[in-house]
């Protein structure tokens, strides 16, 4: 194969094989992962590798756009939605539609074989022209694409702006939720707070009347006991609460009057 290629050097060959393998592995990983988050991470891998392949194919602009738009924006959007829908939701692996899985794999395999066969037949003799000349005309890849977008494809480009606006509007309309009632105001909130007989005021701070004011130090009550409410529940659950027994009256004096007996 190498004898046919003119502009594909060994370095690119290495890049191609490495990135191709990573891309295929990422694609397979996406399809095979049970959790959506893992799928998203796998496809991000594929996309980054594809970006590298774009750059290798003399398309540095598209490679950057691929990284910024796809890996950056689109995949983040996916992750946001996964967050909304639920991270831990994982698919069951039992196929519910009879024969769907077998038929899908067979058909896709057939599609791949046909495409490869067709492409191989069609392209095996072809010569690659290379983009160096085309990129040089306008002084670079980005300039060349810009030239095309703003001349030959101007109408399509303008239409994509309308498309994006419409998509944004559509997303807003779809995601918008009508509010059935007003937000609760201060009055409603106060009534609700006192209604169920809970603790209406602030919880006591930890370490009040204690020699330490760390969060693990419970507040002292006037009778000399401790308040459980003052210590975070996580600390209590871990059993890290500072043990605090009854305090000598002399020690109280020492604290309040700053002198020792």
């Amino acid at each position: 194969m190498t004898d046919v290629a003119t502009d594909v050097n060994t370095g690119e060959l290495v890049v191609f094989w490495v990135c191709a393998i990573f891309a295929v592995v990422g694609a397979l990983g996406m399809v095979l992962s049970r959790k959506a988050v893992h799928s998203a991470l796998w496809i991000a891998l594929t996309m980054i590798n594809l970006a590298i392949l774009y750059i290798a194919n003399s398309a540095p602009f598209l490679g950057m756009v691929q990284i910024i738009v796809y890996t950056g924006a689109v995949m983040m959007l996916f992750l946001f939605v996964i967050m909304v829908v639920g991270v831990d939701a994982s698919d069951s692996l039992i196929e519910t539609i009879k024969g769907q899985r077998v038929a899908s794999i067979l058909l896709s395999l057939g599609l791949a074989i046909l495409l490869i066969w067709g492409v191989g037949n069609g392209l095996v003799e072809s010569q690659s022209v290379g983009l160096e000349a085309a990129n040089e005309i306008d002084g670079g890849n980005v300039q060349g694409i810009a030239n095309l977008i703003f001349t030959k494809y101007l109408l399509a480009f303008e239409l994509t702006s309308a498309l994006l606006i419409t998509a944004a509007m559509g997303a807003m309309v779809l995601a918008h939720r009508d509010r059935w009632q007003d937000n609760p105001h201060q009055r409603e909130l106060s009534i609700a707070r006192f209604k169920d007989g809970g603790h209406p005021g602030n919880l006591p701070n930890p370490g009040v009347y204690a020699r330490h004011n760390a969060v693990d130090t419970p507040a002292l009550l006037p009778d000399g006991g401790t308040s459980d409410l003052s210590v975070p529940r996580a600390v209590q659950a871990r059993g890290d609460e500072r043990p605090l027994d009854r305090v000598d009256i002399a020690q109280v004096h020492e604290i309040t009057e700053g002198k020792s007996e």
């Binding site: 539609i97 769907q100 058909l107 057939g110 599609l111 046909l114 067709g118």
Partner: protein
């Protein structure tokens, strides 16, 4: 053709001739029940006004020179489509004015007569409205200057005829008779409409002037076709063989209707059509021969039927068929006969109206019984009716100096010019006329009284007898005056043309022979029906009598040839529709339904199933592409 003169002076009122009766019909038919009281007088007034206008026009026309007697009036362009145009335009010439006078004058008399005859009918207004409608349509028919407008009038009189035959539609027989007349007339109307279409295709116009002007350029085959189609139309309207069956049943209508429509005017429309289209028939030899044959067959059919019927109106209807047969035959003779056809038509209109009205007057006195075997010895009781009836009787059988002698003998004379066979047949039929008319008069007015028990014969009121008297006067002096004073032959000559009869034998020989035959027929009739006892129940009679009582099997022939096949065809079509068409439609619907029921199973609702089929399709497309590339 002579050029039409513009309508000036009295002739500018031409449109009123039609408009007046039409307005009368509109008022009476849309006016509701309240017109019952004064509506009949309005109807008489409109028709009478038309008659006065017609007479004024005749006087005006007589002052003009013969070349200037054809007058045209164009009201507006009626139909205008592409190259084709037809005007709402009238043509009044020597032929039309004869008809106008016949229609309006006889029409007025019959309107007046109806005042007495229909006095007790609670739908008088409808009757008079229909009569007015008929008069308007008939005038349109004879005044139209193109075939399309003539067709409107032609259909109009058909409609009026239908409405009036089934005027007493509570009687099933009357309703059926109306339908029968309408349907058989349709056959003839198809002929007329086809003739008009053929004229348009051939000549590019349907106006009389245009068609007759260029008729000579068309091929003889086309002209023969047009002529035969016109003959078919005439057969339908004038009850000629083979479309004669409706006229006898049409007697179900009120007697004034029988007199006006089915004796004097509408049934003669066929004669008018043929005479008006004389240019075509002169050019088409075979069409003219067909006309003669049809006329001759009908003369004999009508006469035989008239001899056998005991129903006075049906007997008169047979006589009408026979007399119109004479006119049709005369029209087929060519220029030699047109004048006599119209002459006989005019005379027949007068005396046959008189006969029908006389029959109506007799029926009026006999509790509407029409069976002549239940009449007899009525002459002393109905002096005016019987006298006028006998005058009209003398006119129809052709005793000089009454009307029929002049007109019918001329026809017989002219037919000898054509062929001795036709002449002899026409002459013998005249003898038969003498027989059956004598039979009718003898059975009705002479012999012994054979009345039913509760019948008290009496003379009709004046409003009915005065029209009879006027018609009888017309029947007495009309022929005489038209031949020796009015000279109808030269009057009609510009329209119809004329040929002088040139035979080796002088005319009086034919007249005398015909007269002798008629008298022989009359004497036989008198001996059979006046001198001998007439049985109340009809004897079985010969096979010919029995056939004639059944209208010479006209209905049976129609039944076998048309009605039964139609029945079977429609039954078969219903069967085919139910089994074949519906079976196919329902079957394909069931097939599609079943297929859909199975195919909808593939609409699982799972997006992934649909996506799978999409991928399958994509694989097929790629496979096709690859295979195309590879091959």
């Amino acid at each position: 053709m002579t050029e039409l003169m513009p309508a000036e002076g009295v002739f500018s009122l031409m449109w009123l001739l039609i408009a007046l009766p039409l307005a009368g019909a509109a008022v009476l038919l849309f006016g509701g029940r309240r017109t019952n009281t004064w509506g009949p007088y309005l109807a008489i007034l409109t028709v009478g006004s038309s008659a006065v206008i017609g007479i004024l026009m005749l006087l005006g026309m007589m002052q003009n020179s013969p070349e200037q007697r054809s007058i045209g009036q164009t009201l507006f362009t009626w139909v205008f489509v592409g190259d084709f145009s037809a005007d709402m335009a009238f043509q009044l010439d020597q032929l039309s004015i004869v008809f106008v006078l016949l229609i309006t004058v006889v029409g007025t008399l019959i309107h007046i007569y109806s005042l007495g005859y229909m006095a007790h009918d609670h739908d008088k207004r409808k009757f008079f409205g229909y009569l007015n409608l008929f008069v308007a349509a008939m005038l349109l028919l004879v005044l139209a200057n193109n075939y399309l407008l003539l067709y409107v009038g032609w259909e109009g009189v058909g409609l009026a005829s239908y409405l009036l035959i089934s005027f007493w539609q509570i009687k099933p027989s009357a309703a059926a008779a109306g339908k029968k007349a309408f349907i058989i007339n349709r056959v003839g109307d198809v002929g007329l409409s086809l003739a008009i279409m053929l004229m348009f295709v051939t000549f590019g116009s349907v106006g009389f002037q245009d068609v007759f002007g260029v008729a000579g350029q068309a091929s003889e085959g086309t002209l023969t076709a047009i002529g035969l189609l016109l003959l078919l139309a005439a057969c339908g309207k004038s009850a000629q063989f083979p479309l004669q069956a409706w006229l006898l049943d049409a007697m179900e209508g009120p007697t004034p209707v029988s007199a006006l429509i089915h004796a004097a005017t509408m049934v003669t429309a066929g004669v008018y059509l043929i005479v008006r289209s004389n240019v075509i028939f002169t050019a088409a030899e075979w069409a003219a021969i067909a006309v003669i044959v049809v006329g001759m067959i009908t003369i004999w059919m009508g006469a035989i039927i008239g001899s056998a019927k005991d129903d006075i109106k049906k007997s008169l209807a047979g006589s009408t068929m026979s007399q119109i047969g004479y006119m049709i035959m005369a029209a087929g003779l060519g220029p030699i006969g047109y004048v006599f056809a119209i002459f006989h038509l005019l005379m027949h209109g007068v005396f046959k109206a008189g006969l029908f009205l006389g029959a109506g007057s007799v029926m009026h006195g006999m509790n509407d019984n029409v069976n002549m075997r239940r009449y007899g010895a009525l002459r002393p009781l109905m002096l005016i009716t019987s006298t006028t009836f006998i005058i009209c009787y003398l006119a129809i059988i052709g005793i000089p100096p009454f009307d029929g002698f002049f007109s019918k003998d001329d026809i017989i004379h002219a037919s000898f010019e054509r062929s001795p066979i036709i002449g002899v047949l026409a002459m013998l039929a005249a003898g038969l006329t003498g027989f059956y008319m004598t039979r009718m008069v003898a059975m009705t007015f002479f012999g012994k009284a054979r009345w039913e028990d509760d019948v008290h014969p009496h003379e009709s009121p004046k409003v009915m007898t005065i029209p009879l008297i006027i018609l009888a006067i017309g029947a007495t002096f009309g022929g005489l005056s038209l031949v020796y004073w009015g000279n109808i032959e030269t009057w009609l000559e510009p329209v119809t043309g004329i040929e002088t009869i040139e035979l080796a034998v002088p005319a009086w020989v034919f007249e005398l022979t015909t007269l002798v035959l008629v008298i022989i027929g009359a004497v036989i009739g008198w001996m059979t029906y006046a001198r001998r006892e007439v049985p109340v129940e009809a004897p079985r009679g010969s096979w010919l009598t029995r056939a004639a009582r059944k209208d010479l099997y006209g209905d049976a022939v129609n039944d076998v040839l048309v009605v039964q096949p139609t029945f079977y065809a429609s039954r078969w079509l219903v069967w085919f529709d139910n089994k074949g068409v519906d079976g196919f439609v329902n079957g394909s619907a069931a097939f599609i339904g079943g297929l859909s029921g199975r195919m909808r199973r593939y609409q699982t609702g799972f997006v992934r199933s649909y996506a799978l089929s999409m991928v399958g399709g994509a694989v097929l497309v790629v496979l096709a592409l690859v295979l195309v590339r590879a091959s």
